[in-house]
Amino acid sequence: MSSYLVTLLITMGMYIILALGLNIIVGYAGQISLGHAAFWAIGAYSFAILTTKFSLSFVLSGILAVIITVFIGVILGLPSLRVKEDFLAITTIGINFIVQAVFKYTPFFGGAMGIGGIPFPKWGDNMFTNTQFFILTYIMVFFAMLVSFIFKRSWAGLASSAIKDDELASDMVGIDPRRFKILAFALGSAYAGIAGILYASFMGFISPEDFSFAVSVAILSMVMVGGENTIVGPTFGAILLISLPEIFRPIQDYRMLLYGGLLLIMMRFQPSGFFGEGGIVWRLIKPKKS
């Protein structure tokens, strides 16, 4: 495989993990989050700091980075206990801006210059090749899908979807919404943490600009365009929204316009996305009722 294709596929894999993680928050538990890039940034930055400033090994700093991301993710998910829907959407936008600003204006985190020299993973004494990194990424993608699959069918997953359908009613039958909202945020940020480690390690250099609000919008769009509350939906959404800019490279100037238009048209005419409940793909596959 050419290195261009490998890089593209690795990027795609990271976004699949991110979209699946956001899907747990948005699709399973029904909490709007427009700040997923903030969680991604926390994963990437904690990994970068642990490897470059404390020179810990790849695996150890990876594990610590995920723990830190989950911890901060739970704290940042706390507003979801207090505010709902539209307020939560705006609060998470705010969280995204504030997290980005903290990384940008704190010298410890490298400021606007970012952090460089983040190590690649090693196999014995040799550095990973790009192909090996690609395999590592897709092992993670596989685990992300597996955990999503198990979570959705578990008791906790059912409780989350009950909260999504009707928070008050599920509270009445003894499902504590607070516990499962926090669980969803914890799991979603664990995914973002893993994606952050992969990103920081693969790029070797991160800066606050990589985790802007526009990235959060892109991740949420992947979930919604693909179809929330499924596993195939966010995966497909990530593949679609990452490959479209590459396919449309010849008309690069119009890419963002096409992206905006796609979001508008999908939401206007196909609100459940490609693979969501009653989505376009299922309708095409299913034979018509006679």
Binding site: D86, I90, T91, T106, L220, L263, L264
Partner: protein
């Protein structure tokens, strides 16, 4: 020094108020986070700029930018938001972000990505007030934003339409039972809100003497923070919140050196308000 900060803060606050009041009115009737409102604001700025370049008539520029913005607002409401009302709020939100990206990109492709400015410095005179001074553009921005807010006050508090607007905001179905045409009220609300956004775009363009496609990015998200502080859908809460955010920003940045960018202050303020008083400043207006 303090007087100067006060003037600057009020000017910025007035412009924020114009943008956010439109947004909060829209939220009040449809309960949709109208991110594309900032797109309408950019359209208003460009319409005003080009009208001024061709006619050198500021009054005409103002009228046209109001009209064109109102037209686009109604278009968005009628063809995108109305059919999406039955879906969960995340669907119109993503659609709105899609519209916002499309508008900004469309404008960038048509008019180019460069910063454009008003020819031969509009309102270049200066007025001295003791130690502070007030530039002509500042005066224009201040006067016009307060004039339009007064007009809005009259419309919402003293006319029949204002009463129907409040009724529809509280309960759309019940308002229809009382024979209020809620679709018409929503359309007029969008027209007024978008016209205010258009004026705000034009005034910001005049104030900083620069108009560019990405000028809507910052207001798009800051106005959301402001309407949360103002209590989502509450017009006068939003007005005070906008003035307050304008003043706080200007004074904190101007006097203390805070290591955070100006634009994240509104969000920090918002999160503080949410944690202390989730209903925002609107508690000041509930007479219960």
């Amino acid at each position: 020094m303090w007087l100067q900060q006060l003037i600057n803060g009020l000017t910025i606050g007035g412009v924020y108020a114009l943008i956010s009041i439109g947004l909060t009115m829209v939220y009040g009737v449809l309960k949709i986070i109208h991110v594309a409102h900032a797109g309408v604001y950019v359209i208003g700025a460009y319409t005003g700029l080009y009208t001024y370049i061709f006619t050198h008539n500021f009054f005409l520029a103002l009228i046209l930018s109001m009209a064109v913005s109102a037209f686009f607002g109604v278009l968005i409401q009628n063809y995108v938001y109305f059919p999406l009302l039955k879906y969960p709020p995340i669907v119109p939100l993503i659609a709105s972000i899609g519209i916002f990206i499309s508008i900004e990109e469309g404008i960038r492709l048509i008019f180019g990505p460069y910063i454009k400015s008003f020819p031969n410095g509009l309102f270049s005179e200066r007025y001295h007030l003791g130690s502070a001074y007030l530039s002509g553009t500042q005066l224009t921005v201040l006067v016009l934003s307060f004039v339009f807010i007064l007009i809005l006050w009259y419309i919402t508090e003293r006319t029949k339409f204002g009463v129907s607007l409040k009724a529809v905001s509280q309960d759309m179905e019940m308002a229809e039972v009382m024979s209020i045409n809620s679709k018409r009220v929503t359309l007029i609300t969008f027209a007024i809100g978008s016209a205010l956004a258009g004026i705000a775009g034009l005034l910001v363009g005049v104030y900083f003497n620069s108009v560019y496609p990405a000028m809507g990015d910052m207001p798009a998200y800051k106005s959301l923070a402001i309407i949360v502080v103002g209590g989502m859908g509450n017009i006068w809460g939003t007005f005070y919140a906008a003035i307050l955010v304008g003043l706080i920003e200007t004074i904190l940045i101007g006097t203390l050196s805070i290591p955070l960018p100006r634009d994240s202050l509104a969000f920090i303020f918002m999160i503080l308000v949410l944690m202390i008083k989730p209903e925002g400043l609107s508690f000041l207006f509930n007479k219960r």
